[in-house]
Symmetry: C2
Subunit: 206 residues, 2 copies
Amino acid sequence: MTETDPAQPAPESAVDATDGTAPETTGPLAHIAAALRRERQKAGLSLTELARRAGVAKSTLSQLESAAGNPSVETLWALSVALDVPFALLVQPARPQVQLVRAGEGPRFAADRADYLATVLSTCPPNARRDLYLITAEPGSVRESDPHMPGVVEHVVLSTGRALVGPSDDPAELAPGDYIAYPGDLPHVFEALESGTTAVLVSEHT
Amino acid sequence: MTETDPAQPAPESAVDATDGTAPETTGPLAHIAAALRRERQKAGLSLTELARRAGVAKSTLSQLESAAGNPSVETLWALSVALDVPFALLVQPARPQVQLVRAGEGPRFAADRADYLATVLSTCPPNARRDLYLITAEPGSVRESDPHMPGVVEHVVLSTGRALVGPSDDPAELAPGDYIAYPGDLPHVFEALESGTTAVLVSEHT
DNA sequence: TCCGACTGTTCAGCTTGACGAACGCGGCCA
DNA sequence: TGGCCGCGTTCGTCAAGCTGAACAGTCGGA
């Protein structure tokens, strides 16, 4: 691994929430070292103890925390399991930013029907696979979504109005404040039951 | 890596969305192989071409897609960059489920003030670091949050009412449907300006 | 004070992943 | 048909990760 070919057309997302890719390109090893040490002592484990639980040599762990080394996936995996933290947390650097989308603004997903409107609030930055939508729908319009990618989970919080939301075979009637989550890779539905129905939808690409 | 000590007190979250850890313990290598091949041909790249872009030997890539091998993080990282997919996608298996929380239900975060109420809708499963809250607040209550973990990003969509939300030094006044995201590791505020103000909050632990 | 158990570090060794070259295969064009 | 270029696979070689033991340093008790 001498160099990482920077020839990347950077097919960024539309809204360009933030650039999560650039800082990552520096390499994850430094971040791994820091995250590993941080998570370990957050869990109150000694280096020796963690190594024992994870089934790796403590020397290995020591080197990793010293940012000396390029661990194999299995090794890092074992550590993430022993630490009970998501694997990605050990690898992905973070990136903050402030972003504001006014009610009317934002790219809209023109629906097949005019009475269903989905506004993109935050499209997934490359390392945090989730989209945020604001849904506005009028009654009479049944929004039958075909299944998306496998592993997608959708979360819906109803803001105003009433709606029938969930898996097509067993949707739930939501009132303001109600919440439902369901696998997006199965057919699902969004049907407004009142005028002025709005909801927040989080689509999680896992 | 002979054994993975299963002695894990499983400090699960309250709501217990699903257990994402158990199925992962089988090992990520098989999933990596599948994901790698899938993402590659989804991108329309030949094995040779992807290897060239990522700067890894095509033999290595071939072995990885054959589930023969335990790649180093750098290698897998280079591939994830070349494929322009989040690193975690290559490693994490998915897990679906349906979950419903009614408006009044769900564990509540009793606030320091009685006029601010946060209901947990979906607390982060171990491999998808984000929490979903429903916020109910009354005017007069300024909710000054101290910074959380570094790398946390909060997303707020206002459902009803009006509120002042964002970084403490420069909050934004939100109307229904407005959206804002800001780094959660800086001091931030949530102040309702109207009675019956509700919002959806996504806390992303990165 | 000495002793033991603990922390995290460093050092030889074996193992293994990454590399490049050579291979067999299939499509294309002269 | 022969030649060529692309594909993905397999094979030795070398470097690097992982390991276990031996190492200095710290804390607590006898």
